[in-house]
Symmetry: none
Subunit: 196 residues, 4 copies
DNA sequence: AATGAATGAGCTTTCATTCAT
DNA sequence: AATGAATGAAAGCTCATTCAT
């Protein structure tokens, strides 16, 4: 039963490192973040990082996994809270922004990195698929309840919603202010729904 | 008006370098691309690059400008070709993909880089604004012709189209196949239009 | 007061690097000395130098400070040893040569470098002033004791002695043999004193 | 008779290059002066320099020779103008400063370079010898005329004068103001002479 | 488990020199 | 004779990674 403590400790430290690394990678980008910066932000030594992660690459992959898990959890929570949440386009947008706060750049760092890293690409692909599935479910619920027409390409729409959200995140990063981004989101969704 | 030959030569070489650099930066990313790689892909020496661009950063900025100019030109061409092009959602998508072929990753490299480079961010912001304006015009034309309702948030929609396209580019990069991406695009647009 | 060991180690290594760098810069000059050469002469890696000094420039400045401190200490010692030492012109010359052994070229490297480096120039200026002050004191002692006339321009003379010594160091560097240089020194000083 | 013109042209251009190079090397130092800077200051192309001098090193050596010749000529002129000039310590100092104006740093650049370049060292050694000889002659004249004692170590004194002047040039480079430097010069010389 | 000194491959950038025109 | 585009060997500096303590 002793290793448990150790193991628990290990997991805790790993998590602390991951959170610090998310911060650093988000701020500075993968290539420009130095292992030393991460270590210093944790009051740890550089060497210690290598006790928990084999390499910088490995740490980045761990971050990606962690980030994916986190966002799945919070998204699930969101969808469970109010069943009708998708009907409230503005609330969805605000919720998503809150959930992803601070990791906007990270997502694009991951995207860029994924172009050279098949394992990462696969992970992100799977993650996106899961999110789409969740949205498909939500849309179907709305269709069943009569909020939306029955002849929609639900999968296509789900995919498009994800893409729209990502694209607006890019807008945000470029300096477009949030009211404008939200307006775009609402313009699209309301046009869709009001089409009914 | 005198150094015509030299000037012409210089411009030509610069353009060759830019094209090779687009290729390299797209493939490998800004930080991981070595100046030597770009040089070798052109059968030039490293030193020569520095005759034409002050630094790696400078070269990257030149690429961004070039890329922006190019895409403005081709986009203008597209909108002028057929006035009703926006009405044909599929043609638009195919056209955009053709125009941007090979620079998908570059766009995200630029985005990531822009997070640390205010000058680049400003350039990308302005570029996005211009594109939105062009789309606003197109949408207004469609409204005038009665293809779309009059009470739309045109600016919001234009913004959303751009975001949607960018987000689908991300999907493409992650390995989602083009039929699926186009389906998402069409699902969104057709829902919009058919809402009429 | 805690990192005594570390601090001691760091100081030691710094000093070793400085001594090796004095050797290298003296032999080869600032610009032609490669950081790698200094490292190799210490059986260290290039990278290690940068753990202790921010840049080549920084290392050079550290050398200058170190050299100034050293020469102030040894000069003070010399003046304290025998109060009448200035009266023995030959002993002074020999002492100075011994003190400065191995750093003759360094002084001129510093001088040349100081032409572009205001901070270094200021440091060398201050150092020279201090030396002049020390000599002024010594001359005044001799005047009080009646070895020299009372109507001398003591500051001017002190300045001239320093200049004379530096100029003879230049002679030495050009290959003039030491007996000849010492002869010049003695010719000047004995003429001064015998003028009494 | 044709080559004469060419040769004359060559000599002229060489001289122009040398003068520009003296300026640049004085300002920036040997290592930090780029061939391109010299070329640009002459409105010439880099390649042209290599038509007249084999290498940067070669150009530097030519400068040294030229500088030596020049200073011999002007010094000879000075000594011939007024036979009693050495008697006027202040006039000598002012004259020397005027003659050497702009080449103070160059002298030390040469000195530093000479430490690694035997040919240059030999040239500077010979030059210094010549100057000393000239001064010896002047002192002897003064001795003959009864301005100075007969039992002086004339060669030693001559050597010391040169060294003193060089050392004061160093002072000047370090920022000591000229009145102070001249005062040092006069303090030394007047003490010598008044000792009579 | 933790450290942090040490490493060295690797990168950007510079510049003396060459050579086709 | 003159050019200036091109070269490529260096050099300064960085930083992921290792390892003795």
């Amino acid at each position: 039963m002793c290793p448990k403590v150790t193991s628990m400790h290990k997991t805790e430290v790993k998590e602390r490192i991951i959170n610090a690394a998310i911060e650093s990678f988000s701020q500075t980008g993968f290539d420009r973040t130095k292992m030393d910066d991460i270590a210093k932000s944790l009051d740890l030594s550089k060497g210690t990082l290598y006790l928990y992660f084999e390499s910088k690459e490995d740490l980045f992959m761990a971050i990606c996994e962690y980030h994916h898990k986190q966002s799945m959890v919070t998204m699930a929570t969101m969808f469970n809270e109010k069943e009708s949440i998708l009907a409230d386009a503005e609330a969805i947008y605000d919720n998503l922004r809150r959930i992803m706060r601070g990791t906007e750049k990270l997502m694009f760092e991951m995207l860029v990195e994924s172009a050279r890293n098949p394992r990462l690409r696969k992970a992100m692909y799977d993650h996106r698929l899961k999110i789409c599935s969740a949205i498909v479910e939500q849309i179907n619920m709305l269709v069943e309840k009569g909020f939306l027409r029955k002849d929609l390409d639900v999968e296509g729409l789900a995919s498009a919603f994800v893409a729209l959200y990502d694209g607006l995140t890019a807008s945000k990063m470029l300096g477009f202010d949030e009211p404008a981004n939200k307006k775009a989101w609402l313009a699209m969704i309301r046009t869709l729904v009001s089409g009914d």
